[in-house]
Structure formats: C-alpha cells, structure tokens
C-alpha cells in the first residue's frame, strides 16, 4: 500500500531531520569566540576574530577604479590612506600617516613630505616615494579613466627626489593645498608595474591584492557572501590586535541587525526603527556621533521655472516645512535641523543665518505678498496660472525621502499649493533631474559634506549645471567667495568668507535645508578599543581587540 511505502522511508528521513536539528542545537558557530566575557573590564589582548555584517559587497580592491562606499571600506582595510590623515579628535588638523613630517615652502605652493623611516609593504619591501610617484603618474593617465582625476587638477608637479622625500608643487597657493598634495593612496610599484592597470582578468591584484600596506591582508573573498581579512604583521602602526576581521554580506539591513542581536556578528548598522530596541540590549553598545563629514538632506528648487525665481515664494515655502516633525516622526529623532549650507559640525558653521522656521501663517502672507492669491478651488493663482509643483525624489525605495515628500505635499496643500509627487528608480531619477526638459520643480535630495568646506563649491558653480547643480543656481558672488576661501590661509578670515557664503545662500533659498543625520552603529561588548570621534570609529581599527 502507498501508506506502508510512505511509512517505510519516512522513518529514516525523520531520523536524519532530527539528527540535523540536534547537530544545529548543540553545535556552536566556530567563528564566534566561545568565551562570553563580562561586558566591562578586559585588558587589550592580542588575538581573536571580529565579524561585521554589511549589506553591500565591494566591487573591487582597485582604489582608482571604484567609487562605491563598500569598495572604499574594503580598500581602507588593506591599503594605508596616504601621506596624512585627519586628526580624529580635531578633524581640521592633519596628523602623520605614511609621512612623518611635512612642510610648506615660502612660495606656498611647494609641499615637502618626509616618509616614515621604516614603512614596508606586506612582502617586506620598503614603501618609498617611488611608489607614490608611480601611482600618481598611472592614475593621472587619461586612458586609465580614474573617476576622480579632477583631484589632480591643482597639481603642477609631483617629484620624488629621494626614496623618503616627496615634493608636490601646486599651481597656486591654496588653503586646501595640503589635502590636495596628499593626492594618492600608494600602490606597490614593484608588483603593479608588471601588471595591467585596468584589466582584472590580467591583474589579479585588482580583485585579490597580495601586497598591501594597510592593517589587514585579504585572505578570502567569496562575492556577496563574505570577505576574510587577517592581520598584517608589517603594518606601520603595529600589527593589529585582532587576528581576523571578517565581513559578512547580509541581504537586508533588518537581517544584519538580527544577526547582531543574536550574537552571530560583532558589528552591524541598525535600521532607524530598531534604534531604541538596540539601545536596550545588554550585550551591544550603540556608538553614535555627529559626523564632521555630515549627511544632510534638503529640498531643492528648480530655478529654471519662472514662478520659482521669485525669492519671496521660495522663502514662503521654506516657512511651510516643519523640520521637527521630520526629525521626530520620520527620522526617529536621529537627526538635527540644519538651516545652512554647512552643518553645525563644520568649523565654519554660521549659526546666525536667516532661518525660516515653521510658520504657515507667515508662509501664506509671503505668498500673498508675491501676488499669489487663493483661486476658486483654494489653489493659489497669479495671472491665471495655478501654483502647481512637481516634486521628485529617488530612489523610490527610500522611505525617508518618500515620507518627507508626503509631509511637504500636505503642508503645501494647506497653503494652497498643489504638489504632485513622483518617486523614481535611482538611475531614472538622476536622468530626470539632470537632463532636459528639466520638468520638475522640487526635489528631495541629500549631500554628504566634505570635512573642508571648500569642496562644496562644486554644488553651487554655474559650470556644474546640471551635473551637480541640479537646480541651476547661479550666483557669481558666491563663486567668487569660494575662490577667495580656497586661497585664504588665515583661519579666522577664511571662516568669515564661508560665513558670508552661508548668509547669502540662506537668503537666496536655492535649497530648503532640512536635517543632518546622526551616525551610529552597533558593536558587541566583546570588542574593546572603539572610540567615537567626528570622523567615525574606524580610524583606530588596529587597536580594537577582543575582550
């Protein structure tokens, strides 16, 4: 009978199932430490493994071909950052990295760097100025298509007079000259000069670097699954305390947090909706900081539209946005309001710029002043034209931006402004805002600032319309001020310049500045040595240890 046949093989199958379950329950995950130390105490000791959950895998280890954040993270584990790095506790200042000292000549364009005496690649060969110069020359070649090759535009000459000295000459004196001169992450010339710079099929170092300068070496990389790094004994800051650093690629941010919660990984980012829960967990610590390189969001105006060219209208609409509501209800309190082109974490921040606080009555008054009066169906009209705005946001999977768009639509509707929202897939969104016919009025977007305020000039420059300056804002005074700021070496005078820029931008309202995000991540209490700074937590990864 079928039932009997079923029963006959049912038992062994069931038996195997039970065996598997038992193995699962009793077996431990060997990548976790079997010791569960108490949360406090524990001296910094050598050894141990740390596992991190990430949601995006890197593209490659080539510093001059990749632009995504995941690739940068992997690269920073195996390659030292360059001559200098920023002081984590004072981000405006630079501290030695591969260079032990530097000086600027009287002409204010010639930077001389002296490399540390005993820095080595992981194969024992010394890191010399020849590596830097060779890398610079390769990265600069047009056929190598380095995405950020424009970083080199200010460099007139890059010389290596002796193995421990690098002399970089800029075209003109710049306040950001030091940052400019520290232009390359060096690659080992003695390995790479025999290999193809571009083709990963002919250059295995691109996908699996074997000779490195950073705290870790790559041991294994299985795409979209995991990457295992082991300590580099020859790291110039000293061998990391961790033996192994493992990155696991997880499918969704929610699963990453679940893994952290369950103790399967030691670090993961926390989705905003789980932040409160994460703070209440005993076995992890949520490290948080306000980054110097801030992520901030805004609503941009398309200044090509004649009805948006009236600054009174823009100011009115700015008064209709409730930042506190956005922070409390949409961003779970994990942000602070911004009113300026530079955030409070920037040294040049101007707290006294004109602010457009949430004031719907004032918004209505200003719109009336500009000639917009309620029409028959309560929609504001002027000269027979209705105030109907098209708001774009992208990607359409970004819930925060979608909700901001919805809140804005509702607030503007109360004023009598009709807003049509469209969420687009990322690539489609970029094309929509950056190519003719520029058929949009408002856009919800964000920027990640640079530590030095100078680089944000690109966002306001006329020549960068529409690539970076999507709204087509033109203000020659602002551009002139940015040029002055780039050349002003005196910190106080330089600050004045950027404060003036902020004042003008706050008055002109090309953007409605919204909020700046708090940065935070969850790390298991079994890992010690982590200290937050405005630059984040990864700056001293070689000092992290397993308690």
């Amino acid at each position: 009978m079928i039932a009997a046949r079923f029963g006959r093989w049912c038992r062994p199958a069931l038996g195997m199932l039970i065996a598997l379950l038992l193995a699962a329950c009793t077996g431990t995950d060997p990548s976790r430490s079997t010791e569960r130390s108490p949360t406090s105490g524990g001296a910094a000791r050598q050894g141990g493994a740390m596992t991190v959950a990430v949601t995006a895998d890197a593209v490659s280890f080539h510093p001059y071909k990749t632009t995504d954040a995941a690739s940068r993270d992997y690269q920073s584990l195996v390659y030292a950052n360059g001559l200098l790095s920023r002081d984590p506790h004072n981000p405006d200042n630079f501290i030695p990295e591969l260079a032990e000292s530097w000086s600027l000549a009287e002409d204010r364009v010639t930077y001389t760097f002296r490399l540390r005496p005993d820095i080595r690649w992981s194969d024992g060969q010394p890191i010399t100025s020849a590596d830097f110069k060779w890398t610079f020359e390769q990265a600069r070649r047009p056929e190598n298509a380095y995405p950020y090759v424009s970083n080199f535009d200010t460099i007139a000459a890059y010389e290596a007079p002796d193995p421990r000295t690098i002399v970089v000459t800029l075209k003109e004196p710049l306040a950001v000259g030091l940052e400019n001169a520290d232009a390359v992450v060096p690659l080992p010339k003695h390995i790479w000069e025999k290999l193809d710079w571009n083709d990963p099929n002919r250059n295995p170092e691109i996908m699996a670097p074997t000779v490195v300068s950073g705290p870790f070496k790559l041991k294994e990389w299985v795409r979209d699954s995991h990457a295992i790094f082991v300590a580099n004994d020859l790291y110039f800051k000293g061998r990391p305390k961790l033996d192994t650093y493992e990155i696991r690629v997880v499918g969704t941010p929610q699963m990453a947090f679940q893994k952290l919660r369950a103790g399967e990984v030691d670090q993961a980012s926390i989705p905003p909706e789980d932040y409160e829960q994460a703070k209440r967990l005993d076995h992890i610590t949520v490290y948080e900081w306000w980054p110097a390189a801030a992520t901030w969001s805004y609503i941009g105006f398309n200044l090509r539209k004649p009805y948006l060219q009236d600054v009174t209208v823009r100011r009115a609409l700015a008064h209709a946005v409730d930042r506190q509501l956005i922070i409390d209800k949409i961003q779970y309190g994990l942000a602070q309001p911004t009113y300026s082109a530079f955030t409070p974490t920037c040294w040049c921040y101007n707290p006294d710029v004109p602010r457009y606080d949430y004031d719907p009555a004032r918004a209505r008054a200003l719109l009336a002043q500009a000639g917009w009066v309620p029409g028959p169906d309560n929609v504001l009209t002027k000269d027979g034209q209705r105030l109907r705005l098209r708001l774009l946001f992208g990607p359409n999977s970004n819930k925060v931006r979608e909700r901001i768009a919805t809140v804005v639509q509702e607030e503007f509707r109360k004023l009598g402004v009709e807003v049509e929202i469209q969420g687009l897939e990322w690539a489609a969104f970029l094309q929509a805002i950056k190519s003719p016919p520029f058929d949009w009025d408002l856009v919800v977007l964000g920027w990640v600032s640079t530590v030095d305020p100078h680089w944000m000039y690109q966002v306001w420059a006329e020549q960068n319309i529409p690539q970076l300056n999507a709204g087509a804002y033109v203000n020659k005074r602002v551009e002139e001020l940015f040029k002055q700021g780039a050349r002003e070496f005196d910190r106080e005078r330089r600050k004045q310049i950027y404060q003036e820029i902020q004042r003008i931008l706050a008055e002109d309202v090309p953007y409605i500045f919204l909020t700046m995000n708090k940065a935070y991540t969850g790390i298991s209490n079994r890992i010690g040595g982590v200290e937050v700074s405005p630059l984040g937590i990864g700056y001293n990864i070689e000092q992290w240890y397993v308690k």
């Binding site: 077996g27 099929n201 699963m255």
Partner: protein, 314 residues
Amino acid sequence: MLRFVIRRLIQSVFILLGVSMLSFALMHAAPGGLTTLYANPRIPAATIERLEEQFGLRDPIPVQYLKWLSNVLQLNFGYSLIDQRPVVDKIAERLPATIQLSLASILLGLLGIPLGVYAAMHRGSWIDNTVRVFTVIGNAVPHWWLGLMILVLSANTIRIFPLGGMYTPGNDTLLDRLWHLLLPATIGAMGGWITYSRYIRSEVLEVLGQDFVRTARAKGLSERLVMGRHVLRNALIPVVTIMGGTLAALVSGSVLFESTFSWPGIGRMAVAAAFQRDYPVLMALNMLGATLVILGNLLADIAYGWVDPRVRYD
C-alpha cells in the same frame, strides 16, 4: 518524434533571437545609464564619456545589439560594466548557490506528491482537510515573508536556525552547509507541496472514479497494484507538464528570498545588475533563462509523449 524535436529546436532559435532583441531594446529604453558613474557627482563629464566609449555605449542601439550578437555567436558573453570581469565568470560564481537551493527546494517539494495521493485516498479525513487548508493558506502567504518571520522568531527565542548565509565562513563542511540549507529549502519547498499536492489530489480523485479502476479492482488486483500501476501512472501525467517549468526555476533565484536568507545567488545579482544597468550581465541572464524555459518545455513535451501513449508527435 525526431522530426518533432528538430522542428522545435529550429523554432527555438528564432524564439531566442526574438527574446534577445526584445530584451536588448527594453533594457536600453529604460532611462538612466551606468549609475556607478552618473550617481557620483564628482566624476567629470569627460571621464564618463571616455568610459562610455570604452564600453561601446555611445554606439546606436542596433549597432550595439549586432556587436553583442556577433560576440555571443562566438560564445563570448562580454564583460561586466561594473567590474570588467567576464560575465560568464560572474554567473558561474553565483549559479551553484542558486542551483543548490533550488534543487533542494524542488526535491523536498516532491513530497507534495505522496501528500496529495494520501489526501485523495483518504478523502474527507482530517488529513485531507488539513492538507487542503494548508495549501490555501500557504498559497496566500508570501514565502519569503514566512522565512523572515521564522528567522526573526528563531533569533529572538531558541536559536535553531542560522540567520542566513550559505555556510559559516571558515567552517565549510557538508553538515554546516546542510544546516544552512535546511530552512530556506523547506520554505522553498512549500511551493512544491502546495502545487503538487493539489494537482495530484484532484487528478487521483478523478482517476479513481474511472471505469478501468473499477475493472482493475473487480479483477481482484491488490490495492497496491491498483494504485501503483493504474491510478498513479495516469494521475502523474499533468505533473510532467508542470515540471517543464522547473528547469528554468532551477536557475532563477528569487531576489526577496535570497535577500532574506543572505543567499549569494543569481536573484540578487540580477536585480543589482538591473539597477546598475549592467547590460552584458542582464542579457546573459535573460538568454540563460529563455534557453532553459524553452529546453524545459521541450523536455516536458517529450516526456509527456513518452508517458502518455495516446499522444503522438510527428
């Protein structure tokens, strides 16, 4: 039969050609380009143009298509636009993971057949009713969501299952892989249980009512022979046609499922390639899927002709 197969193969070539043209056109009709370049505002326009030149993206679409086609006919599927690795390598890297999961799901899903048979044979019993309720609920619930709920529950109560991944890095043993495969394969098999049990149940019920079954019983054959030789053989015929789709299902991973279980498979790769506009990878995946669908259906038709002697092909 041979003429039938040859005719179908020739038709397949034209179908594949049509699919490739349609896919290519649709892909390039989608707005936006290589997001890795366009999404990054610090990349100067000249660099973007140079890279587009290099990738042949500035040629007119028909020219690009013909270049692609001539390469494919020489079995060269090109290089990924994102990391310049050969497309074939990238797919070959991810295919085993998806095939393992799909194969395990399909094999476990075959348990639906005995389930359906049992339900049909004991029609009206509590087992039959349970199976029918279960299939309705199981059809309504998204399987990736169910997997997610079980994972989250498991993470917060008794940690039975690993929270995703194919194996524990550093501990790649058969047992470890099976342990990681258990939950996703079981959830994936639910589709099979539902489909097969419902089909089989209704088929068996129908066949059981046929005259020849009554004849067989009247002849004095044992119930076992009646079921095995007469009923099942006829009831399984439609199942053969369903299985035509499983060949393609083997390699098309579900992106939601793979994301939930952090499974490094084809589904996630395909969706990422779509968002990044990695055209060579997308075309290769499309052609792979189309080929397998055609092949699967052809095999199903052949099997159908073999299983059911009333069906004749010429």
